[in-house]
Amino acid sequence: MSAALTLDELWWRYPTFGEKPQSWVLRGINLHIEQGECFGITGPSGAGKTTLCRALLGILPANARLTPEQLPTHFRGQVTLFGQPVTEKTASTGQIGMVLQDPENQFLRMSLLHELGFGLQIRGIPTEEAVKRAYEALCWVGLERLWHGASYIHPAELSGGQKQRVAIASFLALRPRVLILDEPTSDLDPVGKREVIETLNRLRHEHAMTIILVEQDPEILATFCDRVALLHKGYIEQVASPAEFYSQQRLMETCGASAGDLTRISWQTGLHYNNRVPLTLQEAETAFAPTLDRINWNQARNTSEQSSTATSSEAVAEAQGIWYAYDDGTTALRGVDLTLQRGEMLALLGPNGSGKTTLAKILSGIYQPARGRISMLGHEVRSRRDRAQLPSSVGYVFQNPDHQLFNRSVKTEILSGLKNLGLAPSERQRIATATIEAVGLTDFVDEDPLFLSKGQRQRLAVAAILAMGSEILIVDEPTTGQDARSVAAIMQLLCSLQQQGKTILVITHDMTLVAEYCQRVVAFRDGLVSFTGTPTQLFENRELLEKTGLQPPTSAELATALRSQYPTLPSLLTVKHWSALLQEVVNSDVAESA
């Protein structure tokens, strides 16, 4: 098979205004991507994944505006597309396209029809052919129902998932031979995520398209990619088939790359499928079944009981019959009831656009409900003045930390909220110092937040809200697009806050996170609460999962799949549960052989 893309000793570093050159972002990258291949690229945040995509498209070094003398200092090596060197003109040939992480930034026009037709217009495709291609592309991504009146649909009227699909469709209409997708599904709910990737996979086979998929989600990489590359600090650490790739435990852990549930169970227990980690449920069943056969189930039930953080039954927040409609007439909530218990970590789940964020904003006083009753810490929230006081008891951390950092130093960022609450200067200083220490930003007290890493900015955003003494903390999708280490750091911070007595409400699409950390879940669908209960109740009940439109974490799926074979299999939602169950047998085997 011939190569679609080749990278030969590619080095890149961004130009700087200072005298000291920046360090290399890409370091001697060698890659050979076959035609029709689905090639995955993963790695921790800041590894150079997006920079690599920009180089593949020819945006770099062209956009850096370097002189021929400067060029060798910043760019070395060569990228070729179907044997031709990649230049700034490559993208305009129509052979390659790139879908970015944030679909909002890719919407260049203000109607769906014109967005789909934009690239075709540039290429001078005749109108009739352009319309045909636009419609086909929309069908491919499963949005054909939006074709009627496409010229009247504004980007703001689409949900996050629809926007991302439209962004993909606008490239599919161009029929590129190579499509680069830079974390295209990070904002999507699990079902939407799978739908988009399955669509791409189908199109790849039907149209012999080469796909380069930059992704954090190990399950998507393992399921859909032929090969996966690990990028770390600008180096390609390994390129291998998913099975081989995820078997490199030490390398993956050293680089902080994300690994799926099945991989982690295999790592922790040493149980393998054909001398490698299992990647599918069937492989995992085969790999773990011999060990499961030897388990004493009565004893196992006790060891694998879900560890639960002690929570009280005292309600700290209550919402009853909440209705909310946006200015454009969309009804986001239709009589929602929710109770938040002191000291718990509650997950708000649901597909994109189901009303989770709207309810969270109502609870934190940002939106006013059209109808319904809200009680916060025993007080009724009735008037505008009551709502204005809510931030002192309910903190809301937005998904994007860049939207909520207003000051030019870490300390003033923390102080500003305290000042708004009217605290005395000495009290403000004391709280700010303690909070900065609690979130581990002591070394950056005078640093400009803009110069912190994304993980640090996220922690600062939490700290700024936390310092205000909020009893309840609402965190909107804190782990979206983050690598394994950042996810662990954020969740560790939230857990320690929970242990200090805070009540935490997390809005998330990450079911593994829900299974590992949350005591209760509330699932939304079409502006209504479709389920309230524990993660175990939700993830082990197929009917409930169908009703809520959610997907369980892989660990729970595995347990459900094996329950027909082992009816007494206890509730196993997380890697920890599985490891605890299997480890005992594995350890006894090791002891016996010793």
């Binding site: 945006i59 305009s92 390659i96 909002e104 690239g119 009247y152 454009d328 207003f406 000051n407 708004n420």
Partner: protein, 360 residues
């Protein structure tokens, strides 16, 4: 393979309003999809608003104010406002906002433009043309109240208002001593003069400006970016200009979304927890600049990448794709009406008010 009929439909269904959808986004808010004013091509629409405004400017000329003409034109403008398809709630909000604005315009014109007339309703000198340098007891009272208020509440504006009111009362009730050091001639004496003529001018001005505001709002509310792009194409403007403007509109749209999110983040940071002075509110507004700039830099970089990845080139051409609108009879008729309005605006003047007065 998709058939032509299925894709294009009998009447190109992608150009038909989606079922159940009544409003479509425009430059400002949204408008009814089938709004009558939006049926007119953008060029005659702009031309109509320009012509009406030109004629209004003539009607509100202070030397020959024509109240009747201003009212007639206001009626036309208000009709256009109603036909723009603006959401009833937004229209009500605009009407509500226009009342204090027009009232302040009326008052300002009346107070600062002394126009003599046949009947004088009020004549008061407020400044005799001299600056008086003096010290007075009321100044000490004013300063003391302001400082004390600030010391107690840490607020300035309320203190200044309270001090001014109390000082004025004290000056009128008690004969407070004052010591004059010098009188310096500066500017000319100022007199508030309200006559029948100044009332007529003020009313004409207010009605005229109100009409212009309504017509302009109707134009902005009824227009979509795609119409503007299509119009620019029909006017054969250079492709980079068309593209630049369409990107500006899209970026503004994104900035509004970012502004809203950032403002919500400010609310979450308790900016409304306590009453705040105007200065503090302005400071809150200014602090939005930090995240706005950070987000906009990132967005601009990504928009650039998105453009390149679609194959956009500055010198490249771009075909028309359902952007231009056909020229219809109503558009031609509107142009004729506009020419008539312009003739009235710049040709011989017929003062309807004088005609009416003579006829009565």
């Amino acid at each position: 393979m998709l058939s032509r009929k299925k894709v294009l439909g009998d009447q190109e269904i992608f150009l038909q309003p989606p079922p159940g959808k009544q409003y479509v986004r425009s430059f400002l808010f949204a408008r009814r999809i089938n709004a009558p004013f939006a049926e007119i091509h953008l060029i005659p629409r702009i031309f109509l608003v320009f012509s009406l405004s030109s004629l209004q400017l003539r009607a509100i000329d202070a030397t020959q104010p024509d109240l009747v003409e201003a009212i007639c034109l206001w009626g036309v403008c208000f009709l256009i406002f109603l036909l723009s398809g603006m959401h009833a709630r937004v229209a009500r909000l605009y009407l509500l906002l226009s009342v204090p604005t027009l009232l302040s315009l009326f008052t300002t014109w009346l107070l600062f433009n002394p126009v003599p007339g046949a009947v004088t309703l009020l004549k008061t000198q407020i400044y005799d043309g001299n600056l008086v340098l003096s010290l007075a007891l009321w100044q000490a009272i004013w300063l003391t109240i302001t400082v004390l208020y600030f010391w107690r509440t840490r607020k300035l504006l309320g203190g200044i208002l309270l001090a001014t009111v109390l000082s004025l009362i004290a000056v009128h009730v008690f004969a407070l001593p004052a010591w004059t050091f010098a009188r310096v001639g500066f500017f000319h004496p100022l007199t508030i003069l309200i006559s029948n003529q100044s009332l007529l001018v003020a009313m004409t001005k207010v009605i005229g400006y109100a009409g212009m505001v309504f017509a302009t709002i109707a134009l902005v509310v009824s227009s979509r970016d795609v119409e503007l792009i299509g119009t620019m194409r029909q006017l054969h403007l250079p492709q980079p200009v068309i593209f630049f403007l369409s990107t500006v509109f899209r970026t503004l749209d994104l900035s509004l979304v970012d502004y809203e999110t950032i403002h919500q983040a400010q609310i979450a940071r308790a900016i409304n927890a306590r009453p705040r002075s105007i200065i503090k509110r302005l400071r809150d507004l200014a602090s939005i600049a930090v995240p706005m700039v950070a987000v906009m830099i990132r967005r601009s970089s990504e928009i650039g990448d998105a453009l390149i990845s679609r194959g956009y080139q500055l010198r490249g051409t771009s075909a028309n794709f359902y952007e231009t609108s056909r020229w219809r009879l109503i558009d031609g008729l509107t142009i004729v009406v506009c020419l008539g309005l312009l003739f009235l605006a710049f040709g011989p003047h017929i003062n309807l008010t004088l005609l009416l007065q003579r006829w009565l």
